[in-house]
Amino acid sequence: MSLFGTVGIILQLLIVVALSPLLIGLMRQIRALMEGRAGPGIGQPWRDLRKLMRKQPITPRGTTEVFRFAPPLLVATCLAVAAAAPFVTTASELDPVADLFAVVALLTLGTVALALAGLDTGTAFGGMGASRETTIIALVEPTLLVAIFALSVPVGSTNLGAIVTSSLDDPGQVFSPVSLLAAVALIVVIIAETGRLPVDNPSTHLELTMVHEAMVLEYSGPDLAMVELASSMRLTVFLGLLANLFVPWGIATTGAPLVIAAAVLAFVAKVALLGACLAVGEVFLAKLRLFRVPELLAGSFVLGLLAVAASFFLA
């Protein structure tokens, strides 16, 4: 375990765990300001987490271990991805793990755990949330994998470190139509995966529209805190991936402490910027009806296919 690798992993874990609630806080604050409200301040998510942590844990009658272990598993998947992905450094120790397919599959595992927990409660809300979430996952997979396919063609590998280093070495590759189309496709996928506005409204509890919230309706106290932390970490991880795959500059490739510090700052800035854009976008977007989401995903799938075709015909 080279020192540079371990330092990278620890830094990445710290950033993701500590700063992701702040990212949610920042996005809510921006929306509040855009909508003319004062907004609770950036630190509000942490305050909520602290409050939830102190509440008494509740186990609903008739639920099994699946319900109890889903939140920690969800957090664990986010931690694993945060450790493996090249956010701050490219030479992470868990390099063989850092395959794009593996990262995506890990995040899907987390969602599956949550869906099973929803089903385990046996209430209509849990079942509805799980059913809609798995439908969306099933429709997102083709776009996601085809986008990865497009990204991997110029590089010749799906390893995250390899993709980042190759786009660092040859900046022209970033602005080629392949990566632009892939980027748009990935943005739509990220919105669907993390349950942001056009696909699912994170802040609502209205049965007709909620997807992610329906699954976690029965959680309370520390479990709910873990779920909230996990969803914020998922957003950070996805935005981090998006940022480093398409805007890799500033990532540390050598072990010098100064370079690492700069990389951390660059990463935080990039993620914050992307979060802000997302928040601004959400202000102007309304939630799509559930059965219009497949059209959105079909569109992004076509973009992914065009990216692959472009990578073949243009390369």
Partner: protein, 677 residues
């Protein structure tokens, strides 16, 4: 007597002895002895298979067996792999069968003499198919497998009328498959010296393209129907659910592989690979099977029928791998072809493991509750903890998520497809992305299917009295499931156990070097950038989980957890009828894929006589027809019925009509003799 022929002979003898035991022993001892016998012959087969894969061939000729054609046995690496897989599945199902045959409270006794005698013969026939080395022997073992599996499929024909019709579908479609293979192989034999595979191999290289194409397509029809390839899959979702669960485990996990074995043996080994339109056909049919199979599974509510369709899907993925391997081989890229073939073969091994586990746990559910419909199950975790855990492990493996087994083989398959783009020319450039999309959609729908099967079937609260009173199955069934579960875990975390051997076999088939270099921790692809470490992924997950739990204990309060009622919007306690069932879970998916699936839904509302505004009862029924059957099979069946009715007019009973046939044909014959003097 090298280990291969020794172990194979041992497997055959033990199998035959347990068949005789099954026929003669009294009831209680019968299923136990047969179970042990099958497990023992399974172990022997695994030993023989592994030794064969390690390069120790064996061949044996018995000319006076099977009149007019003789029996020739030849074990090579490719045959060894499938022999080992069949042996492994036999071990698990043998142990499992001992308990399952007693029928359980709601289950049905399947320990009659005929069934217990046929079970070992079925396993034996499946072991002999990969080692047959002449056309006569291959067809003999193939048809013995068909006959014994038919007898086993109709074992419970007294319980449900659907069993007899499933038996009919199965018998007719296997006979159709046999005729296709027979015609294909005999066209091949007519262009070769004699019937042995060695002679075919020699003749295979200089066959004219049309003859080779005819041989490949006809054998593809036969083998594809056995592998559950889409247009010829109709028997699979019928025969598997109706068969006793240990038989459907054997059929799903071992028999369908032999369809793929046939395609690889004829396509690569005997014909030496062919033009790329063959492999495009295999790849596109594979993709079609994968998507269509998993779509039907995602929407179906019968647990065993769902698993049957999932078998069709997994065989579709394997065929995508085989098709891609053929495509790369025909365009000269050896290592990529080896990689694709290795992915296909690893997926066969993984599928054998997790499908055995899934069918065994489904069988355990049927054993305990007597029901197969997911809408009636639920809440089995309370009564059947071990079966629930087994099904969970199987579902994790089947849905291709990281710590599961299928993730490794699907990752390999995706790597092969992705790196194949630049190599395989224009046609591949169009097909590869679509194939990746098909694999991805299949993976996504597989996740949805198994979340539904596990969540709706096992978790929450029971929706029927049988599910509520379910009790854990006897220890032998649990032991069978444990064997399969251990195999799943081993394949998931330590691919080094099987991947090097499979890589060598795959390389041998497409005659390229080893496509994968495997160390204890990571799989590294040879001369293609790509590596994966399933073990490290699992360790990262476990460490993350431990850290999260520790963090939660540190920061959370010390107060003990309090049990509370589920949130019921204040409307009083929630009953089991309010849960999401399989039908409702799959309803969004069915709505999204409506034009493909076209489910038939009918809702009839019965009002009170007094006023039509008050509704007394609402009935909702939904049936998901298999559209390929409706579009392809129904016209054929109608044509046959029409032919039958028309044929009846040939024998109306009048003696004058019969004599008239003779008179006019004799006159015609005489005129012909005069004309053609």
């Amino acid at each position: 007597m090298n280990p291969v022929s020794g172990a194979l002979l041992g497997a055959v003898i033990v199998g035959a002895l347990s068949a005789v035991a099954g026929l003669l022993l009294p009831r209680p001892a019968r299923s136990a002895v047969v179970g042990v016998g099958i497990a023992a012959s399974g172990v022997a087969a695994v030993v023989a298979g592994v030794a064969a894969m390690a390069g120790q061939g064996a061949s044996l000729a018995l000319p006076d067996l099977l009149p007019l054609s003789g029996v020739v046995i030849g074990v090579d690496a490719l045959g060894g792999l499938f022999l080992a897989v069949t042996g492994g599945v036999a071990v698990a199902t043998g142990i499992y069968g001992m308990g399952y045959c007693t029928g359980g409270r709601h289950g049905h006794r399947t320990d009659g003499r005929l069934v217990q005698a046929t079970l070992p013969l079925f396993v034996l026939a499946m072991m002999l198919v990969p080692v047959a080395a002449s056309v006569g022997t291959f067809l003999l073992c193939w048809e013995l497998m068909a006959l014994t599996s038919l007898l086993l499929v109709i074992a419970e024909h007294r319980r449900r009328p659907a069993v007899a019709s499933a038996g009919r579908w199965y018998a007719v479609m296997t006979q159709l498959g046999l005729v296709a293979i027979l015609i294909g192989l005999l066209v091949f034999v007519s262009n070769a010296a004699d019937g042995t595979f060695a002679a075919l191999r020699v003749a295979g290289h200089h066959l004219s393209p049309t003859v080779a194409g005819l041989v490949f397509v006809t054998t593809l029809i036969g083998f594809g129907s056995k592998a559950g390839m889409v247009p010829l899959h109709a028997w699979l979702p019928r025969a598997h659910p109706e068969a006793p669960s240990n038989v459907s485990a054997l059929m799903s996990a071992a028999m369908v592989n032999l369809g793929v074995y046939g395609i690889v043996r004829v396509g690569f080994d005997l014909l030496g690979g062919g033009p790329n339109w063959w492999w495009l056909l295999v790849l596109s049919l594979g993709a079609l099977s994968a998507v269509y199979g998993i779509l039907q599974a995602a929407i179906g509510t019968d647990l065993k029928r769902l698993l049957g369709y999932s078998t069709s899907e997994n065989m579709g993925l394997v065929l995508i791998g085989v098709g891609a391997a053929g495509l790369f081989a025909s365009s000269g890229d050896g290592t990529l072809a080896g990689l694709a073939m290795a992915a296909a073969m690893l997926h066969i091994v993984n599928h054998a493991a997790f499908k055995t586990l899934l069918f065994q746990s489904a069988g355990s559910v049927v054993y305990a509750t007597g029901r197969r419909d997911l809408d009636d199950l639920g809440g089995l975790r309370v009564g059947m903890p071990r079966t629930t855990a087994a099904f969970g492990l199987g579902a994790l493996a089947a849905s291709a998520l990281p710590p599961g087994a299928a993730f490794v083989s699907e990752w390999l398959l995706l790597q092969a497809l992705i790196h194949g783009l630049p190599a395989a020319g224009i046609s591949a450039a169009i097909v590869m992305p679509l194939a990746v999309a098909a694999v991805a959609l299949t993976a996504g729908l597989a996740v949805a299917t198994f979340v539904k099967a596990y969540g709706v079937g096992f978790l929450a609260r029971p929706r029927s009295p049988e599910a509520r009173s379910a009790v854990e199955s006897p220890p032998s069934m649990i032991a069978g499931m444990a064997v399969a579960g251990a195999a799943c875990i081993a394949l998931a975390l330590l691919p080094i156990l099987v991947l090097p051997a499979i890589g060598a076999v795959a390389g041998g088939v497409v005659d390229s070097g080893d496509p994968v270099a495997v160390t204890a921790m990571t799989i590294r692809l040879v001369d293609v950038a790509g590596s994966l470490s399933p073990l490290m992924l699992a360790i990262a997950l476990v460490v993350g989980l431990a850290a999260t739990l520790a963090g939660a204990r540190v920061f959370a309060t010390r107060r003990a957890a309090r049990a509370a009622r589920l949130w019921d919007c204040g409307a009083g306690p929630l009953s089991a009828r309010m849960e999401y069932t399989a039908t409702s879970f799959a309803e969004p998916l069915q709505r999204v894929f409506d034009d493909v699936v076209q489910a038939e839904q009918d809702v009839d509302v019965t009002h009170h006589q007094e006023s039509s505004y008050l509704v007394k009862a609402v009935e909702y029924r939904r049936r998901v027809p298999d559209r390929i059957e409706r579009r392809l099979y129904d016209p054929v069946l109608a044509a046959m019925a029409g032919w039958g009715r028309a044929g009846r007019r040939l024998a109306p009973g009048s003696v004058h009509r019969y004599l008239g046939y003779g008179f006019y044909s004799v006159c015609a014959l005489l005129i012909l003799l005069v004309v053609t003097r």
